[in-house]
């Protein structure tokens, strides 16, 4: 922006030496501004990703049964293993099912709360905003510990329910985890949608009100379409988060034996890495990162097309 403002006419004549000096100074400044992030990004984002891909292409071979193990190039051997690993694909299926059910419920609730906060119907909005957002301050591990106690029949204040229905059983434990995640993140998503509702100028629906439109009609026809970008943003983050599930299921494992060591893809990565089988674990990681990337990209593109139509 700034360098383009130096028009050719101005850059001629007496001004020239000074302008080139500023220009050189600006280039130096840009380098200084960008270098720290660039170095860290290379070291802790780019190189690890490349290294993981390399590791996933290696395999361990032994000469005879008792020979020393040797790392050799194995091509797609690890990826073949990934695709044959039923445990891994079951874990992927599990988080996909989780995402299909939990993400819409969570975002639906977040949208409902945001619309109510923005409507004239509520009193004590500040209190509700804070109360709903408070769980976001609780890290996943601690939220899972808390709910783990609340789920267990002996400790729970909801003993009447938890002694009848074992929410930590194999059938229900996925939804027990879904509840923990929903509890933590609804308020956060609500605030993102709410702040984009606040950015809508009131004049836009003054006219609709004068025409006798109800609050529900205004919400449905005017407000929701205008906050779609915010909902998309929360949607992408939720999809990324769902595929990465680790802290909550890993913590709840000490409360429920129904959570296997390969319950979610990331748990499978962790378990495989602790064997230790780094090459296969690296291949899992690469597949998972690619899947996440593609899925959020497709989601972004698909929703963008829908919006622009």
């Amino acid at each position: 922006m700034t360098s383009s403002s130096i028009s050719p006419a101005l850059a001629k004549g007496a001004q020239k030496p000074r302008r080139t000096k500023t220009f050189a100074a600006q280039r130096r400044a840009v380098l200084l501004f960008i270098a720290p992030f660039a170095v860290l990004f290379l070291a802790f984002y780019a190189i690890p990703i490349v290294f993981a891909v390399v590791q996933s292409l290696l395999t361990v071979e032994r000469e005879g049964t008792f020979g020393a193990p040797q790392e050799v190039f194995g091509g797609f051997v690890q990826y073949q293993q990934v695709f044959q690993n039923t445990e891994f694909w079951r874990s992927v299926g599990r988080v996909v099912l989780f995402g299909v059910v939990q993400v819409p419920i969570m975002l639906g609730l977040a949208l409902l709360f945001a619309l109510l906060l923005d409507s004239p119907l509520l009193k004590g909005k500040k209190f509700f905003r804070l109360a709903f957002f408070a769980p976001y301050a609780v890290p996943g591990v601690i939220a899972a510990i808390m709910w783990g106690f609340l789920y267990s029949p002996t400790l729970s204040p909801f003993g009447l329910i938890t002694s009848e229905v074992n929410v930590l059983s194999a059938e229900l434990v996925l939804w027990a985890i879904a509840n923990v995640v929903t509890w933590v993140y609804v308020g956060y998503n609500m605030l993102i949608i709410y702040s984009s509702l606040l950015a809508i100028p009131t004049e836009i629906y003054e006219a609709a009100k004068l025409d006798g439109a109800s609050n529900i009609q205004i919400a449905w026809r005017i407000k929701i379409p205008l906050v779609v970008p915010a909902i998309i943003l929360t949607g992408v983050f939720s999809i990324i988060g769902t595929l990465q599930l680790l802290a909550e299921p890993q913590t709840l494992r000490s409360f429920s034996s129904a959570i296997s060591s390969t319950f979610t893809p990331n748990l499978a990565v962790y378990t495989t890495a602790s064997v230790p089988n780094y090459h296969l674990a690296a291949a899992f990681s690469v597949v998972l990162a690619l899947a996440t990337f593609i899925l959020s990209f497709v989601f972004l593109k698909a929703t963008q097309r829908k919006v622009s139509q």
Binding site: M1, T2, S3, A25, A29, V30, F33, P36, F37, A38, L40, F41, Y45, P48, I49, F51, A52, L112, L116, D118, P120, L121, F128, L130, A131, A134, P135, A137, V138, V141, I142, I145, M146, F149, L150, L155, G159, W183, V186, I192, S195, S196, K209, N215, A230, I232, L233, I240, G241, Q244, L246, A247, T251, S254, Y270, A273, A282, A289, T292, F293
Partner: protein, 291 residues
């Protein structure tokens, strides 16, 4: 007319008002009961947690609470205090440095034209979509090459990188730092770096707080990285420490009380910080979705 005031009739309003309040009331219980339970339970002894009313205090609540806190900070040579300190270093110091680094980069991308600007921004953007947990194992492999796993650096250094912070910084810098102002500063002979730290950061201040909070929460919540990197429990962040205690409850039942009190102690400062910085959250959160 105030924002949200409705010219509609009172009868309809009373019904929908009650409905709205009812929904919000029920969900307030949902959101606050677990935290309330944690607070109440931390005032009980191990036996009382199962034996008394779960959602209300006992007669000896106050002294029990303080003796629980005392045991929490002395158990196993006071390792819990160490965990809190570690978390403050990883998340507090890490987010502070990370915010400055991200702000400089985002600012340069917004305010200067140079070759490769769009390319850098696109790389940063794709970095946003790479989840932190997908990097944990690759980072572990890299750090074990240079024999730095199980050190403070193994968790601290990777936490400094926040592509999302760069993305936000670029949006905010473009919106809040006028190009004319930078030209004026240049004519006054102020160097680019000095202008950034004295003028631009001030204009970007609310944004910087938002970036800091985002990164703080991201580091605080990152479980996989410390889980896979650290063996020495004096290096644990508080989340990993409580996780470790929690998984030993079946062998050492007295840890249950410590886990409950420890969970409370570790979330109180966060909730307090969120309340104090609320203004920044509510104004800054939506910014990512504006453009």
């Amino acid at each position: 007319m105030r924002r949200g005031d409705s010219p509609r009739g009172p009868r309809h309003s009373i019904m929908s008002r009650t409905g709205a309040m009812l929904i919000m009331g029920v969900f307030t219980l949902y959101f606050l009961t677990p935290i309330w339970w944690l607070l109440v339970s931390s005032t009980k002894t191990g036996g009382q947690i199962t034996g008394t009313a779960p959602l209300w205090f006992t007669m000896e609540s106050i002294p029990t609470f303080f003796s629980n806190i005392g045991r929490l900070f002395t158990y196993s040579d006071g390792v819990f205090g160490r965990w809190l300190l570690n978390s403050a270093i990883y998340a507090g110091l890490g987010a502070l440095l990370g915010t400055i680094i991200a702000a400089m980069c985002g600012y340069a991308l917004a305010k200067y034209e140079f070759k490769g600007r769009e390319a850098i921004f696109n790389i940063v953007l794709s970095g946003v979509l790479v989840p932190a947990t997908a990097l944990a194992l690759p980072l572990f492999l890299i750090f074990s090459e240079v024999k730095l796993t199980n050190t403070l650096w193994a968790v601290f250094l990777p936490s400094l990188v926040s592509p999302f912070g760069v993305y936000l910084a670029r949006i905010y810098a473009a919106a809040s730092v006028p190009g004319e102002l930078l030209e004026a500063a240049r004519l006054d002979g102020s160097g680019e770096i000095r202008t950034f730290f004295t003028v631009s950061t001030r204009l970007m201040a609310p944004a910087l707080v938002t970036i800091f909070l985002f990164q703080f929460v991201a580091i605080w919540n990152n479980f996989f990285l410390p889980l896979i990197m650290l063996r020495d429990q004096t290096l644990f962040p508080v989340t990993l420490g409580l996780y470790a205690w929690n998984s030993q409850i079946s062998q050492i039942p007295e840890l249950r009380v410590l886990v409950i009190v420890g969970a409370l102690v570790s979330i109180v400062p966060l909730i307090a910080a969120f309340l104090a910085l609320q203004r920044f959250w509510s104004s800054g959160l939506g910014a990512g979705s504006v453009k």
